[in-house]
Symmetry: C2
Subunit: 366 residues, 2 copies
């Protein structure tokens, strides 16, 4: 292989691909970056077998070829090079990287042993705006479980019904759901994507009007972002039947300003964190919500204005679960919907059906 390319482009491409480099692995070959030079580009692949990222960088290809470069080191070398043209020449065991007055020689390996990414082909890929999908991931992936003992809960359900796409994550204590309308009818599809893979896709997605194509097979999701393709292995098993746990009615509905509610939760968390259960109590009556938390250090009381419909209510939550919701919502105001103080709180936008969060209360009242 013999190529020339721009340092900034190569560093950016490696920055994307190396998101799939395994942190620890029992297969040393996966610690490498696969590079293939052909057709005016370097094609870069990293994979930890759960997820794989393929991206390409524009290059003058003087001599085509494939090679495995030592992952972390190669990326660090390229990242630290001065801006300008980088020249890379490889034979089967060595790569020479030349940029201005810097010349690095790295041991490398033949590419034949590197696993290829699975082919993910479907007749009808789903097309979304990248910005929209990025926001949907942000609003759901945080709620997935980190507990590997129930693997299915570490995933996010991606569910297509006609022209509606819905993402759902839950961990037994809270649920996050969001949905969008698509331009076409895609029939009925469902898949559970590991939340960590989906989170990485979210980091690669850009804002603006760029599009992402999603392709689902029985085993994999492909997110095609143009120059970058992300393949994620799906989780096996049935997702929780979450629609059964979504309350359809409410007895108490409070409209709160998100920024004020978030600040009050954040302040109350300081003391809640030191107490048992990380507990925040909410007491609502028309016009006002009071938040309480206490610990051995003391107690805090916050008051924020609310527009209340229905019954007054006292209820308690884990401060972290409420805080997580507020960190991931970008709305001015939202509704908190309650039935009793031992049934879940449902958090909805004031307009539309874009998202829904559900948080289980902590029982402290008889």
């Amino acid at each position: 292989m013999y190529i020339r390319c721009e340092q900034e482009l190569l560093a950016a491409g490696l920055g994307i691909a190396t998101r799939a480099l395994p942190v620890r692995t029992t297969m040393p070959v996966l610690e490498n970056i696969y590079m293939e030079a052909r057709d005016g580009a370097i094609h870069i692949i990293c994979t930890d077998l759960q997820k794989g990222i393929q991206t390409q960088v524009e290059a003058d290809v003087e001599e085509e070829g494939t090679i495995l470069m030592p992952g972390r080191i190669f990326y660090e070398v390229v990242r630290k090079l001065p801006k300008g043209e980088v020249e890379i020449r490889t034979d089967s065991s060595r790569a020479e990287i030349h940029c201005q007055t810097s010349r690095t020689t790295l041991s490398c390996m033949e590419a034949s042993e590197y696993p290829s990414l699975p082919d993910v082909v479907s007749s009808l890929p789903i097309i979304l705006r990248q910005e929209e999908f990025k926001e949907m991931i942000r609003q759901t992936a945080f709620a997935a479980s980190l507990d590997e003992s129930r693997p299915i809960l570490t995933g996010v359900l991606l569910e297509i019904t006609g022209n509606q796409l819905r993402l759902v994550a839950l961990d037994g204590f809270r649920l996050a759901m969001c949905q969008c309308q698509m331009g076409e009818d895609y029939g009925s599809l469902a898949a559970v994507v590991p939340a960590s893979s989906l989170g990485e896709i979210g980091k690669i997605l850009t804002g603006g009007d760029a599009k992402v194509q999603l392709t689902l097979t029985g085993t994999h999701l492909l997110a095609d972002m143009g120059e970058t393709r992300f393949v994620a292995r799906l989780l096996e098993g049935e997702f929780i039947k979450y629609t059964q746990i979504l309350p359809s009615e409410w007895q108490t509905r409070a409209k709160v300003e998100c920024a004020a509610f978030a600040a009050a939760i954040d302040r109350a968390s300081t003391l809640a964190r030191e107490g048992r259960n990380n507990l925040i109590r909410l007491s609502m009556s028309q016009g006002n919500m009071t938040l309480y938390a206490d610990s051995d250090y003391g107690k805090v009381e916050e008051n924020i204005p609310v527009e209340l419909e229905g019954k007054d209510l006292e209820i308690a939550f884990n401060a972290r679960y409420m805080g997580d919701v507020l960190k991931n919502v970008s709305q001015e105001a939202m509704y908190l919907c309650f039935n009793t103080n031992v049934s879940p709180c449902v958090i909805r936008p004031v307009e539309g059906e874009g998202f829904l969060f559900l948080v289980l209360p902590v029982r402290i009242y008889a």
Copy 2:
């Protein structure tokens, strides 16, 4: 105590004082923040007995008094409050902090058990520009040892000779020294200040033309920055006679551009780090310096222009020690002065005598 003050001022004051809160301590009383309200201000003190910080925040004092507040929690509570007026009312066991619709009650303690900061008085305090002292600390404290087995090396020597102030730190492998001229003759003084305390002083010092007054006694340094006073306990014992190890001559002198040299060292470090000894070899001849590093992953060669006087030279260094020097110098160019490849390298400014670094080479040549 009953006071009213601005949230931003109080948070800033606590941010400074809590730099002296101990991370771990066997004396629970030190986990508190001492507060005294009098004379239109809150006087705040934190200490871990090695260092103590006293600062003050303008306040309307309705009722004078003293109190101990639980350190980390109180600071976090105040930091998260909305901007605006904060009201604090205390009795002997509880403090109520009120800001807009937020009301926090913290357990607190009577202040009588809190250790007072030592009086540090001298007839002739040394007056410096804060910005200058901050820069001197930055250029020396990094070179002090972290190894507690020789406590004196964990300190920075503060040495006054007439109207010259000099700071010196060394750890057995490298030395950093810098000096400035003062407006007056302060006689002859020397003290060894723990590098960690001096580092905290450096973080509190501001830029610009503000002044700092340094007062030394046999046991303590006081840095008086106006609203904030920092007291550091000195280290006991004799500092190393460092002047004996400073070479007065050179056989080879290379003038290098700092930015290019730093970038080359940084790139070479990527591979040096993976190799044994974190080793970088320098090879100098007129007009050019080549840096080499290698490891199992490969090797790197960097070339930078130099103006060389004297003999050509090959010498090797620990990449980190050279990198540390370059991170803490803000000059365009500097001199590297050598005698042989087994004697120390001295790094000096191109003009003046503001700083001097000494780095021991690694012996790899016969």
